[in-house]
Symmetry: C2
Subunit: 240 residues, 2 copies
């Protein structure tokens, strides 16, 4: 199962990582940066479908995604599952586990991926000494809370079309921030996973994609999305 490889070839330091501005954009001098580099030295790779962690496992570290794509999901006792997010390079996951020292959700690779491990006790230690790192850690956690509130808004008061439009715009914006096209991208997740995330059934997701296509807002061929009318999509979500 956890076919995990600690690959020394992947020993890329924060200081020379091209995701630094997204992931840990902390203002540190050379010596301080060395200490951060030391902390984040463990990299691991995951194949599609592998679990980075599972609900219930002991909490030791946060994880920064270097390449690839993950989903996180919470499980209900009766077997229902709710996707709580899709994560891409530069994003940090595992924050939920701090509260109880155990992971409260699963993280699954949706494609072959690489992560940096950030042992949490050492991160706390270092952030006690480096205020700008401390502040950044707090911002990351707070940002996750804000993100969650946005999803509550989406799930609690939007219609299917608004939800899917908001989802696509969010993906577009995040791909764009990583230097990829905002208009054309590949979906790493199934209709069912999108549906779980958006509180919809997979058939509804599929139909809504078709509606958008009929209205000329986008072209979709299974996992390949091309947004034709960004403003039209935005109008759906209210941020026209």
């Amino acid at each position: 199962m956890q076919n995990v490889v600690a690959n020394p070839a992947l020993r890329i330091a924060c200081s020379s990582c091209n995701l630094r501005e997204l992931c840990l954009p902390v203002d540190l001098d050379g010596k301080e940066m060395q200490r951060l580099d030391a902390l984040t030295s463990i990299k691991r790779t995951f194949r599609r479908g592998e679990y980075l962690y599972r609900s219930g496992e002991n909490f030791r570290a946060l994880y920064a995604i270097r390449t690839g794509f993950f989903k996180t999901q919470v499980l209900h006792e009766d077997g229902r599952e709710q996707v709580t997010g899709f994560q891409m390079p530069g994003e940090i996951i595992g924050l939920d586990a701090i509260s109880t020292d155990a992971h409260t959700c699963d993280a699954v690779a949706l494609e072959d991926s690489e992560i940096c491990e950030l042992p949490f006790d050492r991160l706390e230690e270092l952030s006690r000494e480096l205020p700008s790192l401390q502040r950044h850690l707090h911002k990351i956690m707070s940002r996750e809370i804000v993100r969650d509130h946005g999803i509550m808004m989406l799930l609690g008061s939007m219609r299917a079309e608004e939800r899917l439009a908001a989802f696509l715009l969010n993906l577009s914006q995040r791909f764009s921030a990583r230097g990829y096209s905002p208009n054309s991208f590949h979906l790493r997740m199934t209709r069912q996973e999108i549906g779980s995330y958006l509180g919809l059934k997979l058939e509804t997701v599929s139909r809504t994609f078709s509606h958008f296509q009929e209205h000329g807002l986008l072209n979709v061929r299974v996992r390949e999305v091309e947004i034709m009318d960004m403003l039209g999509l935005r109008r759906f979500v209210g941020n026209n």
Copy 2:
């Protein structure tokens, strides 16, 4: 509007606060505790309907609720609002504002309330020196993330009856943790606010209360709830 009163009579220190075990259960010696007391010395009172903060306002402090009851809500540009939580004594709000140095939601008193102000820069400063405070602050933020995931599960994959049952059980558990009856309590919020929180219309909330009553699970007379069959309610949510 912000008819705020800084009341010196309310200068209750953390060290002697009876909510300490809920709010900031940090293992500190006498001298350290004094420093925490100094930090949390500002108390304020709010009348029902008053705003503790509004979306967009500058972020300066977190707030610990001493007495009373609040709701937090996010606003959508088109006027829709989504209640993101109901907070009771011992709980800390304002965490969402750290990410952007501005509040991203409103906090409104649902009854006359008192809060302790925790200036965030001083809290960060102190938590750099007191690892157990630092750890606790992280746990509070993480707990909020876990809570939000639970709401996503609720909004994304539960039916109306399950949502309301989960909501009532959650309130019950929190009242109980504060020394009040888990079986009988007063709702501080309207049907409409419950509905917003649960992603339902107020009529659905009202009807679902009636169903529960018909099935002998609880008695409800407007805002007064008496749970008759706790296990019956639990069975709805799957945690039977």
